[in-house]
Every structure is written in structure tokens, then in C-alpha cells.
Symmetry: C2
Subunit: 893 residues, 2 copies
């Protein structure tokens, strides 16, 4: 005989969490809770096999289902001390669907099944609350009518609204018992009229009706479509859960509440939660009565001593505390519980893993490891790396008053206050004078880099999460709010207006890049705490991971931040950022405007000592850690101003006529600069540029060695290689410079030459490219742009509709497109290593700090990830989790 019905609760558990296929997700969980001895309201599961049978045999049930169900129902009656359909002590049940995987489009829940014209009176008496009884009854008819009988729910709403109007009631709660009785009568008329039969008074008819509705909902078009889209076989079937209702509003020995086993805000191990005596869950939601604290300590802290559950219901409280222990021991994590007390007896309705703040997550994980509840590895897996972002930047003091004057996109986290400036130059001047400023622009461009460096935060009117401002700010770890389009900037009058406020240059505002808000005046902030539990867990993570973590950094400040956050090297030093400083950009422009190689060399000779000094400082800060230096990458026009009024100034500074500047600008103009003359193409056309940079690097390495005796092994990186030949050519030139410097200095030089893999072709031809490269660094920003044919600057226009229509799983510039771009990385890694087994592999796009992407990097066997300094801890933790999760795709060594 097949067993179709499985019981749970009241000391019985005919199943556990592993039996999802048979009992469905909900049923298996209820069985599990019962199995560990929790007092769960009793009930039973009709298995998924019944569903399969139902559809295999023309929607009929197994012959022996009725008898098994009757038996289980009788057991529930006995366990609860009430009888299904009994007018005095009626047993009420809930009926829910429960497929093995959670699925929209299925029947959800029918509550209070078992109410009819007779049992409603029994409920009224038992609860001492006739209004509650009739409200429950009318809700049941409405719910049952809608989901089981197929009555248009609009009909019920119409009747309810009419009644409210007649009674002058604004809310449902304004209706008294008499009105609700009348509503019940009217609902019954609606059902009778709409279905041609009276509302079923026979509770067994009600029950079988609800069970049939659950099975029927398995084949609704919506459910079928969902399964097709998610590759869920229809043969899986759904289970039906039938469970006794318990009530927290049956008198003063009843209550309802929610609890966390630890404080979800701080992670502290203390009873945390609220309850209400003689109330139902809805009462808490409705906000009519204020819930009280569970523990007396919490109640006292809240100014309501003596009203805690600990004081008012000490036995139930003690039981709850025991349950806490039991749950944490069993589930080995902080739990979030819903409970009801009926007649002094504690029923656990639901338990699930509790959500928590980032800092609570660290404390809970470290504490639980200390308590021996979980291992250190498990502790590492318990913290969501993405949540660290809020932890690593200053945040607004929660106690501070705030006046929000505009809202934009949360482009880069951090809360900062400063004086408003409207140009990069002004930001730089103020920054040099030691002032804190916020740079406010319609949008930013590479011309603004120096100002963005000088500002504490950036606020733009246009642009999305992947605009220039957002990307650069995240890279710099600066707070940034983008696309705050309420703001109207008037550059000429140096002010902006928003929501009736007029903010002039020099006025102080605060921006919160984690929330996307702009506020008036200076608001206190709280600095991140990187010690204690954070430090402990990160130490464990570092021990667990295989992937190395480096930072993308070029300024001394960035490099120092990176080291402080635990970076093990620099994976991407973008030398062009060094050229935007005022003293250098002049020489840079002179170089660009030069007529020939000779003129370029003269200008580059001015830059050489500055570049060398930069590298000396960087090497010293990094103290022996590897430093990967990318040679000049962006198109040259980024170094020239575009505003007509600036051209004259540039011409003057470079000692050429304005028409020369204008002509050169026209020559440099490109239809698609992203696909134009940049990266190694510059190095090939103008050999003197890379030669200068290589010389600066090697001379700096020699200088640092001379000064400190430390050996620096610079990693010279060539960008935008498409053909192995490009790399071969440039490597030969770099080797020649190294040989020169070695000869001049009398020292042997140790260095690596490698390449970015950021074009699909380079990935496909990795076997050839690796013949000339000691390392590959995947430039996933550009690789994403090329692979998807998608400009980071322009995709904002359709990113939102694409995400909404699920055409993208996520913004491909934030989290790696593993199916597309990821395959190219896999191909390149495999082919590159086939040529050169010791090829060093890393990633240096924005993705290096995205947890899902870091997991991918681990799986495909990269050696390191490199990300902005502020995301280094995120990458460290994600790398550890990836290592612990296993699934290393690399072939065995």
C-alpha cells in the first residue's frame, strides 16, 4: 500500500528536510521542525505522488487516499483537542500548495478552512471575540470563493466597499460584528449566484475542494509557462499541506510574536523580538497596538519595563529561550521565528535564517565559530561579501537629522560632506588648499579626473550606474551620486537649484553614495571599524583562499589604501592617470602636438623624471609586492581640451598656433574612440612613448634598489593587443630599453612583460600571444564591451529595460557575463597555459571586486584578481568562499 499522507507536529514527524521531492519544500520543512522536537501545529502532507497520480489518471485520486486522509485528520483533531466541523470546539486548518521548488502561479493559501455558519459561533465563543470570528469567516469565504470556486474577487471587494460606505467606515477594522455578519450573508449570496450552488457548509467538501484547487493550480498556464522557462519537469508534481490553525487571540494566556535568536543589527547573542498578548499576527501589522519586547532588558531599554514576555509569560519565555538554543544547534545559524501562544502553549509557526547587517554577520559568524557551533570555514561562508561595501566606507550617523534635497543613483558608497564646486579645476584648487569639496557636474569626462581625485565626492545630474563618473568614482573609492536629475545646474552663475533650494558654490552639502541621496549642510558620519570580528574573519579568509588579491591603484594614496585593505600587490597601475596632473598634462599636450618623433621625444623627456619619481614612490609603498604597470592606453584626444576657449591656452602653453591644436584635434577625432587609435596601437605608431615609460619604470626599479637594497620586479603590461605580433614587436623594444638601462646602471634587471587580454581576438589567439607574454591580465571592462558590442558609456539608455526584461542576468559591467565573456576567459586561460605552463593569469576589470565574478575567476584557475582598493576585502572574502565552495575547474597540476 502506498503511503500518500505524511503527518507532522505534536511529537510526530513522518519525514524530514531531505524529503522535498515527496513532501514538497514546505512539507519537508514542517516535518524537519517536528523532527527536532519543536512544537509545530499538527498537520499532514498529501504527497507529490498523489499529484502525479491525479494527472496520470484523468484527475482522479488514489482509491485509498480518503481513508489515509481521514486517519491523519482524526490524529490532528486529537492532538489539538478540537474536531473538524464541531460547532463547539471546531478544528480549523490551513491548506497550502507545496512543490519541491518554490514556484509562482500556484495556489497559495486558504486559511481558516472549517468555518461555516455553525462553527463560526464556536469560534466566537472560544475566542470571546465574535467580531474576530465573523471577520475570519468572511475572509475565508472570500479566499475560498476566489481561489477554489473561481468567483471574481472583484465581486467581494465591491460588496465590502458598499458596506463600508453604508456604515460610514473608512477601514475594514471600522466594521462591527453586525456589519460583518451582514457581509457574510452577502458573500454567500455572491457565491451562490456566481457558481450556481450555495457556499459549501460541509467542512469535508471544503477540504476536498481546496485540495483539488491545489492540484488544479499545477497546470494553470502561468505555472506551466514558469516551469517551461525554468526547465522544471511537470512530472515533479506538487504536495498539499493541511495544518491545524492556532490562535494567539483566544484570551490573555494567548499571544503572538516574532523573534531572532541573536540581535540582527549588532550580532550580539541576546533574545531579540516583539510580542503582543491576546492578538493575531495581523494586529501587529495593522499597527493598532504597539508590540512589546520579549526580554526585560530590551523592554527596560525601550522605556517600558515590566511589559516584557520575560515578566508577563515567564514559562512561555523560558520555553522560547530553549527553542532558541535548540534551533541554533540544529540549524547552526541565527534564526528568525514566528510563534503563537494559545492557552499558554508555545507553537512555532515558522523558522528561517535571519537577515542581518554586515557587521552583525561578522559578529555572528565569529561568535558561532568560537562557540563551536560552526567551523571557521563555515564562518567564512556566512558573510555576504557584497555586504562589505557598506562596511568599508563612512556611513551617515543614524542619529543625525537629515534634509534630503535630491535623490539619484547610489553609484559609489560612502557618506561625505563638503563645499560645492562646479569644475575639476576648482576642485583641484580647493583640494590643494586643504578644503573638502564635492564636485557637482552635469556629467564627468576624462578631463575631470584631476578634479575627481581632489574632491571627496562626486554628484552628477546625468548618467547611470555605469557612467564615467560612477565607474571612476568606484575605482577611486570616492562617494558618488549619479543621475540626480532633479538638480538644475547653472554653471555660469555657479549654483544649482533643487526642490526649491538654491545651492551656491561654497555651500556645504552631504552626499550618501550608498543611498543615492543629497542632503543640505554637513551631517555627522560614522567611520568603518576594520578591527575585531572583521579582522578575525578576514584573517581566516586569507588562510582559506587560493586566489591572490591585488588592487588597481596609481596614486600613493590609493596604493596606501590598498595595502591597508590587504592588497597583495598592484594588478593595474594606469599610467595615464598620472598624466592628468597639471604639470604633466602640459608636456603631454606638447607631445601630442609635436610634428614629428623628435618633437615628441623632447616633450617626453620632460615627463620622464616625473614618471620615474611616481614609480619610485609606488615601488616603495608596495615594499616588494608585485606591481603591474600598464603602458599608455587611452586615445590621445583625451588629453586635449575640447572647449574652444581652452584651445588658445593650450596652444600658448605648447608654443604652437591655435590652428595647430585645432587641426590635431580634428585629426584625432574618432567615430568610435573605443575601437580606435589607443592601447598598444599608440605604442606601435609612436615608439618613443612606450620607450619613455619603460625607461621610467626600469630606472625607478634601479633607484629603489640603490636606495633600499630591495629588489623590485616590475611587471610591464601592454594594453589592447589583438595580434601576437604587436606584443612581440613591443616586447622587443621594451627588452631593448631594459638592456640599455641595465648597461647604464651596471645592474641586472629582473622584470616581466605581459599583456592585457581585452579583445576577443587576443583571447582566441592566446596560444600565440602567450609565446611573448609572461602574464595575462583580463581587462574585463573592455572585453565585455567588445564581446557584447556594448559601450559602457552608452548602454545606460537600455540597461534598465534589458534588466527588467531579464535579457541580462545582471549589469554585465558589474558582474561578469560568465556565459559569453567568461568563455573567452576560459579559452584564453587554457590556450595560454598550453603554450606556457607558468603563465600568470589575473583579472583587472571592475569585475575583480564583484563576488560572483571572483568565484568565477577561482573556478577557471586564475592566479589573482585586482580591483579598486575599497573592494579588496570583498575580493579577499569572495576568494575564500570560492575556495571553500570548491568546484575548481582547473585541470590537476
Amino acid at each position: 500500500m502506498t503511503k500518500w499522507v505524511y503527518r507532522f507536529g505534536a511529537g510526530v514527524a513522518e519525514g524530514d528536510a531531505t524529503m522535498k521531492a515527496l513532501l514538497g519544500g514546505k512539507g519537508a520543512n514542517l516535518a524537519e521542525m517536528s523532527a527536532i522536537g519543536l512544537n509545530v501545529p499538527p498537520g499532514f502532507v498529501i504527497t507529490t505522488e498523489v499529484c502525479t497520480h491525479y494527472y496520470a489518471r484523468e484527475r482522479t485520486y488514489p482509491a485509498d487516499l480518503t481513508s489515509q486522509l481521514d486517519e491523519a485528520l482524526a490524529w490532528v483533531e486529537q492532538a489539538v483537542g478540537a474536531r473538524f466541523g464541531d460547532p463547539k470546539r471546531p478544528l480549523l486548518v490551513s491548506v497550502r500548495s507545496g512543490a519541491p521548488v518554490s514556484m509562482p502561479g500556484m495556489m497559495d493559501t486558504v486559511l481558516n478552512l472549517g468555518l461555516n455558519d455553525a462553527t463560526v459561533e464556536g469560534l466566537a465563543v472560544a475566542s470571546g471575540n465574535p467580531r474576530f470570528a465573523y471577520d475570519s469567516y468572511r475572509r475565508f469565504i472570500q479566499m475560498y470563493g476566489d481561489v477554489v470556486l473561481g468567483v471574481d474577487h472583484y465581486l467581494f471587494e465591491e460588496a465590502l466597499n458598499e458596506l463600508k460606505e453604508q456604515n460610514g467606515a473608512r477601514f475594514d477594522t471600522d466594521l462591527n460584528t453586525a456589519a460583518l455578519r451582514a457581509l457574510v450573508d452577502q458573500y454567500k449570496v455572491i457565491v451562490a449566484r456566481d457558481t450556481g450552488a450555495p457556499f459549501p457548509q460541509d467542512v469535508r467538501v471544503q477540504l476536498w475542494g481546496a485540495i483539488g484547487a491545489v492540484f488544479g493550480s499545477w497546470m494553470t498556464p502561468r505555472a506551466v509557462t514558469y516551469r517551461r522557462l525554468h526547465d522544471i519537469p511537470s512530472s515533479m508534481g506538487t504536495a498539499v499541506n493541511v495544518q491545524a490553525m492556532v490562535f494567539g487571540n483566544m484570551g490573555d494566556d494567548c499571544a503572538t510574536g516574532v523573534a531572532f535568536t541573536r540581535n540582527p543589527a549588532t550580532g550580539e547573542k541576546a533574545v531579540y523580538g516583539e510580542y503582543l498578548i491576546n492578538a493575531q499576527g495581523e494586529d501587529v501589522v495593522a499597527g493598532i497596538r504597539t508590540p512589546e519586547a520579549l526580554s526585560e532588558a530590551m523592554a527596560a531599554a525601550g522605556g517600558r519595563p515590566g511589559r516584557s514576555m520575560e515578566v508577563r509569560m515567564p514559562e512561555a519565555y523560558a520555553e522560547l529561550c530553549r527553542v532558541f538554543d535548540q534551533l541554533e544547534r540544529h540549524y547552526r545559524d541565527m534564526q528568525d521565528i514566528e510563534f503563537t501562544i494559545q492557552g499558554g502553549r508555545l507553537w512555532i509557526l515558522q523558522t528561517r535564517t535571519g537577515k542581518r547587517t554586515a557587521s552583525a554577520a561578522f559578529k555572528v559568524a565569529v561568535d558561532m565559530a568560537a562557540e563551536g557551533l560552526i567551523s571557521r570555514d563555515e564562518a567564512i561562508l556566512r558573510v555576504d561579501p557584497a555586504s562589505l561595501d557598506q562596511l568599508l566606507h563612512p556611513t551617515l550617523d543614524p542619529a543625525a537629522e537629515k534634509q534630503v534635497i535630491a535623490k539619484g543613483l547610489p553609484a559609489s558608497p560612502g557618506a561625505v560632506s563638503g563645499k560645492v564646486v562646479f569644475s575639476a579645476d576648482a576642485a583641484e584648487r580647493a583640494g590643494a588648499a586643504g578644503e573638502k569639496v564635492i564636485l557637482v557636474r552635469l556629467e564627468t569626462s576624462p578631463d575631470d579626473i584631476h578634479g575627481m581625485h581632489a574632491a571627496l565626492g562626486i554628484l552628477t545630474v546625468h548618467g547611470g550606474m555605469t557612467s564615467h563618473a560612477a565607474v571612476v568614482a568606484r575605482g577611486m573609492g570616492k562617494a558618488c551620486v549619479c543621475g540626480a536629475n532633479e538638480i538644475a545646474i547653472n554653471y555660469e552663475e555657479r549654483q544649482f537649484t533643487t526642490r526649491g533650494h538654491r545651492i551656491a558654490e561654497g555651500d556645504v552639502i552631504t552626499i550618501d553614495g550608498a543611498a543615492g541621496t543629497v542632503m543640505l549642510g554637513e551631517i555627522a558620519t560614522v567611520d568603518p571599524q576594520l578591527s575585531g570580528d572583521f579582522a578575525t574573519l578576514m584573517e581566516w579568509a586569507d588562510a582559506a583562499r587560493r586566489l591572490r588579491v591585488r588592487a588597481n591603484a596609481e596614486t600613493p594614496l590609493d596604493a596606501r589604501t590598498a595595502v591597508r585593505f590587504g592588497a597583495e600587490g598592484i594588478g593595474l597601475c594606469r599610467t595615464e592617470h598620472m598624466f592628468f596632473q597639471p604639470d604633466r598634462i602640459l608636456a603631454m599636450r606638447e607631445m601630442i602636438l609635436a610634428e614629428d618623433a623628435e618633437g615628441r621625444r623632447r616633450a617626453l623627456a620632460k615627463i620622464l623624471p616625473m614618471q620615474r619619481a611616481d614609480f619610485v614612490e609606488l615601488f616603495e609603498i608596495m615594499a616588494g609586492r608585485p606591481v603591474t604597470i600598464r603602458l599608455l592606453d587611452p586615445p590621445l584626444h583625451e588629453f586635449l581640451p575640447h572647449a574652444p576657449e581652452d584651445l588658445e591656452e593650450v596652444a600658448l602653453a605648447a608654443g604652437v598656433e591655435v590652428r595647430v591644436v585645432r587641426r590635431r584635434l580634428a585629426e584625432l577625432r574618432e567615430a568610435n574612440p573605443m575601437l580606435g587609435l589607443r592601447g598598444c596601437r599608440l605604442g606601435i605608431l609612436y615608439p618613443e612613448i612606450y620607450e619613455m615609460q619603460a625607461r621610467a619604470i626600469f630606472e625607478a626599479a634601479v633607484a629603489v634598489h640603490a636606495r633600499s637594497g630591495a629588489t623590485v620586479v616590475p611587471e610591464v603590461m601592454i594594453p589592447l593587443v589583438a595580434m601576437a605580433g604587436e606584443l612581440a614587436l613591443l616586447k622587443a623594444r621594451i627588452d631593448a630599453v631594459a638592456a640599455e638601462v641595465a648597461k647604464e646602471s651596471g645592474r641586472t634587471l629582473d622584470y616581466l612583460v605581459g599583456t592585457m587580454i581585452e579583445l576577443p581576438r587576443a583571447a582566441l589567439r592566446a596560444a600565440d600571444v602567450a609565446r611573448h607574454a609572461a602574464f595575462f591580465s583580463f581587462g574585463t571592462n573592455d572585453l565585455t564591451q567588445m564581446t557584447l558590442g556594448l559601450s559602457r558609456d552608452d548602454s545606460g539608455k537600455f540597461m534598465e529595460p534589458y534588466l527588467k526584461q531579464e535579457l541580462f542576468a545582471g549589469d554585465p559591467f558589474q558582474t561578469l557575463d560568465q556565459d559569453g565573456v567568461g568563455e573567452l576567459i576560459r579559452i584564453a586561460a587554457d590556450r595560454g597555459r598550453a603554450t606556457r605552463a607558468d603563465l600568470k593569469l589575473g583579472i583587472c576589470g571592475e569585475h575583480g571586486g564583484d563576488p560572483a565574478s571572483v568565484r568565477f575567476c577561482h573556478r577557471v584557475g586564475l592566479d589573482y584578481v585586482s580591483c579598486s582598493p575599497y573592494r579588496v576585502p570583498i575580493a579577499r572574502l569572495a576568494a575564500a568562499q570560492a575556495a571553500l565552495a570548491g568546484g575548481d575547474d582547473r585541470p590537476d597540476d
Copy 2:
């Protein structure tokens, strides 16, 4: 005993063409010529094994080499009737290197070896020309001194120049015997001073010196580098060829000449060539004497009857004709021959396959097949498809007078004359009035498309072979000269100046897009002849090929041209080109400027009937052949004007305020339009656009069916798909429109929906994409741009240096980058067919008309290529050659 020396000539042939590894390329060819009985000056080859021995044994020769060489030399002496070093009848020889593969960096040739102070007198007597003898001697010393003894050739040149100055001679030929004798003395002094030893008078010392120089040149750095770059093993070694010199200047029974076995200009089977009595090859080059025709027919035609070889040397002529026959029978192709007659005896010095014009190639191939010399398949393989380009366009009448006023790049072939216009609008007006015009612009943009359509030819000042003008012109089959930067345009005054000429609007010029020239006035042209041999061979080709050939076409004219050139369908109809016509662009702009979907629909409703009419016409012209229609692809801003003065006009026409146009333009502005909002992204954001287009297509299919009863099966193509989801979404919408049209018309519709594969991601995810696509069409223009990260519009700046440094094998926009882009095509074809075995695969980029790319398409198993109408015959022939060459990479069916 190893045989180190192999003899050839004078009735002996110790080898043949297959023995390249042992005898080197030259040696094997000489052996082959001897083997078939040609009278080749006798000589011998020292094998590559001697070279290997030489390097394996510290640069020593095999012990028995000397005796074998002596024996061979004695045989040559006997065959020629002269003795090496004999002062009376000296044997002179040439010494050449000859590796199995042709290789730069190796010693080339030493001629007249065997001359010394004694033998030079013998030569003077034998030739009756002492000046010749001493000139030969001084040349020999110079050549031997340079390549064998390592004397700086500058020293010889200096001495020669000094001598010329002393003698008041302008050219070498102005020096008399006495002067040359003096020069010989001086050369000997130079050699003695520079090498510390006198110039070797012993002819055997000379010979061994030259042999050693050949073997030594095998290991020069240049040769070593070349071998490394081309993966040629050094162990291969080089052979040395020693061959008797013969002289055509020993009297009136001597001559020298060149001949073709057929007329290389027309392909006609007739003796073709020139000769000179009592002369050396150099005499022809020096231009002192005018060569005479070989046949009397040719001589008479040239106005010099009675001076032909046929008349003057009838026996040698008859022998030459026999040789012609023999050569064609043996080599089975037209030969290009160098010959010398010494003492009435015909010596064949060289024979190789003769170069010919495109039309001659057709005639020779078809004739030879008719003569039974070659098979039809071989005939197909004999014509270079690329050469057809000159054949399919009008060419300048060779007889016409021309005054070239500027030179640019030969961007798109064809010779056309017309009035100069300076704007697309003017071109269109003139075109509408039936005038022939040439559009002259600094450069063109998509705004100019309508003008380019109206013009006969395009002339631009800027831009390279892959500029917008060049690409579009090739696509349209219009003549185009690009980058004619001598020209200075003054748009305001509507004129341009060049080389002192001032050309005003309306003046007539002629451009030759095959030569890149611009000429004054109208010049007569010759129309292409597509019948006769051309038609015959193309018919054979069509029978031989597997690949189908379609055309990229959207206008009725293009479609008709395509059919005339043998296209089997349209592979790419770019609907956007249809929107640039004046009546449509207004509605298009109205659509772009609309505030909402409703407004867009209103504007699109105006376009619908026009689009439908376009498709009706296209379907009727194509008469049942497949037509692939690509839905709207380019970014919308291409349809808006950018000049401020045009904005008002557009606003007026669209019924909106100017600021709306300006705002919309700003909204549409993109940093990298190639990677922006275009292709299917437009279709996803603005569903109404593709819905209108789909409706136009389906309604047209219904209309054509109603009118003619013909069934049209349109192929709807979605551009720029990156994710399978995009295609799924759009296909569903198109299917819905088809269902609507089917319902409205009461007809069932047969159609295919497919996609362009032009993003690397789509290629990689082809397995998913194919689930929703009935066909893939590889858009190799964009796929190249994305895979290489290379903008077609911007790469001109570095294309030349890249080609020069061999970083690109060829312009990747003209011939497919098979290693990179090609691999993506392979991946997509394999994965797509794995999902859907009957997936139709084609290519529709510029590459569809490039022979090497067509071969690739055949090898990877595509079903068709699509190219511009004028390249259809090229593709047909290339496809046939690919099929005949074999090497199909497709797995067996």
C-alpha cells in the same frame, strides 16, 4: 658513393621538378626543362646535401665533391664546345643559390664567372665586341668582389662615377673600351687593397669561391631571421647551380628575346613576343635598340614588315614554335619564355607561367579546355577571381587622351564621367533630373547615402580604402576615388582646386576608381563584355560550386544588377537604406522625435505603405529567389541632421519645436555609436518599429502572391543579437505580426526568422541562439570590428603602418581574419548546427566578395555568401575554385 652533383641540359637531365628538396627550386626546374627535351644551357647542381654536410663538418666539403664537380664541368665544356679558363674559347658560367623554397637574404647570382685577364681577350675576339668583353669583365669583378669577396660595393661605384666624370660620360654606356679597360684595372686595385690579395685570375679559385659564398649566405643573419619567421628549418640547406653562359651577341646568327605562347592581352593563340639580333638581354632593357616582333603578322601590324624573326631566322623561329607546343603540352598553361640564340642554336633560359589580363585569362582557360589540354575544372582554377573586378566595370578607353588632375586611392573600380556636385542633396536633385554627376566631398557620412545613390561616382579628399565612402561605394558598385588629398574643396564657393585647375560645380570630370585617378572632362569608356568565354567559364563554375551566392541589395537597380550577375537571392537587404529617401526621412524623423509609442506609431503608419511597396517590388524582381531582409539597424541619430542650420527645417517638417530636435539629438548622442543603441536593441526598446517592418514584409508577400500566385518566403533577419533572449523576444513579436497578417489576409504565411551573428557573444552562444533562429548570417564587418576592437571608420590612421609591419596579413575589413574572426565563425557554425542540424548559414559582410574569404566560407561549410552585386561573379568563381580545391572542413553528412 653519394652523388653530390646532378647534371642538366644538352640532352641530359639527372632529375626533375619533383626533386626540389635535393636540387633546390631552380635546379629542379632546370632539370625538368632538360628532361622534356628543351635545349637548356648545360650545367649542374651541387645538392643541398653538400650544404648540410658543409655545416655539419665545420664548413668542409665532402671528399669526393671535387672529382664529381670536375667531371660535370668537363661534360659542360664538351657540350658547349668551350673550356673553362681557355683564353681562346673560354667557357663562362653563372653561379646561383637555389634553396628548396624561395628565400631572400641568400646570395643571388654571379654572372660571367670564368673571366680573367686572359679569357676576356678570347671573349672579345669571339664576340667581335671588345667593349662588351671588358664591360662584362668589370661587371664580373664588381659582382664577385661584392658578394664573394665582401668588398664594399660603394668603392666600385665611386670609381665608376669618377671615371664617368673624367670621360664626361653621363651613362655607363657612354664609356668606350679604353675607359672600361682602365676601370677593370682600377677595380682590381680596389679588390687587392680591400682584401689584401689580388683578384683571383685562376678560374677554379673563382668557382670554388662562388660556391663557398652561396653556402655561406645560408647562415647570414638575414637568412636565419627569415627562416625563423617562416618556420623553415635550417637543416633544409641550399643547392648551388652552375650553368654555362650563352650569348646572343656573338654575331648575326645570334639573338635574344622574350616570348609568350599566347597573347597575354587577349588570350588569342598566336606567337607573341620580341627579339633582337646580335644582342644581350640588357640591350632590350637599356632601350638603345627597338626590339622586333617574332611573327611576321605582328611585325606587319606594327608597321615593320620583313623584320620579324619568322622572316629573318626562319629555322630558329620554327624551333621556337615547336618549343611553344612542347611547353604548353608539358606545363598545360600559357608560358612566358626567355631565350637566346647563339650561333643559330636556340637556348631556352627560362620558362614560367605567363601573366595575363583578366579577359585573356578567360579566353586561355576556355580555349585550353576546348583544345583538351586541360579539364573544365582546371580551366575554372586558372582564372584569378580577384581579377574579375576590372572586368565587370566600365574601363577607360585605352585610346582616349587623358589629363590627370589628381591622384587618390583606387577605392571602388569603374570609370565614370559626370558633372561635379558638392552635396548629397545636389546629387539627388541632379540625379532626379537625369543628369550624370560625381559627388565630391571631403568625406562622406551616412547622411550622404541618398546622394551617393544618385551619383555615378564618388570622389573624397580624406579617408582610406575602408572609409565610409569606399565601403559604401563598393557595396553599391559605384566608382570611387578616396583620399585625393591634392584637392582643396571650397564648399561655399562650390568649387575645388587641384594642380592649378579650378573645377566649379557643374564642370565635368572623369574618375577611374580602379586606378584612383581624377581626370579633366569626359573620357570615353569601354563597357564590360559578359558573354563569350566569360559566360562559358562562369557556367562551368556554377556547376562546380557548392556554396550559393547571393547579393547585398535593397534598391530595384541593385536587385536587377544582382540577378544579371547571377545572384541566387538577396542575402542582405538593409532596410535603413530605404529610409533615407526624402519622402521617408521626414516620417522617420517624426518617428524619432515622437514623445511616446503612440507618436512613433503614427509616424510609422506613414512609412508602412512605402516599405510594403519596396518589398513588393523587390520580391517581384527576385522572382521566387530567397530574400533576407534585415530589420532596422543603425543608431537613430543617423537619420537626424547635425548641422545647426538644418535643425529648424527638421523641426518644422516634424511639427515640433527646435529645442525638441536639439534635446533629442543630445539624447541620442553616443560616445561609441558602434557599441550603442542600435540593431535589435532598437527593436526591443521601440517594439513598434520592427512590428511595422514585419507587417510591411508579410503584407508584401501576401500582395505578391495575390498578384502573381508566386509564393514568397521572406527571411526576416534580426541584427546585433548578443543574447538568445533578445532573439526569442523579437521572434515572438514577429510571429505575432505574421499571425495577424495571416488572419487579416486569410492566407497562410511561410517565412523564416533568423539572425545576424556579428557580436562575439552571439558566436560563442550560438547553441542557444540557434534555438530561435532558422538561419545565421555572419555580419563579418561588425564581427571584425568587435573581435579586433577595431573601428572601420577610424582604423585608417594605423592600417598602413600595421600592414607595412606585417601585423595584419591583409586589411581585415577586406579579407577575413581567418585566425581570429574565422574561429568565431567556425565556433558559431559548429554550435549552431549542433542545436539545429538544418540551420542555414551565410555571410553578408564585405568579405562575401573576397576570394580568400569565400574559400574560407566553403571550408567551414557555410551554405551561401552574399556580397555586393558587382562582386557576385567573383564570389561564384571563388566558390567553384574552393569546391575544386577540396578541403571541406564540414563533418560528413
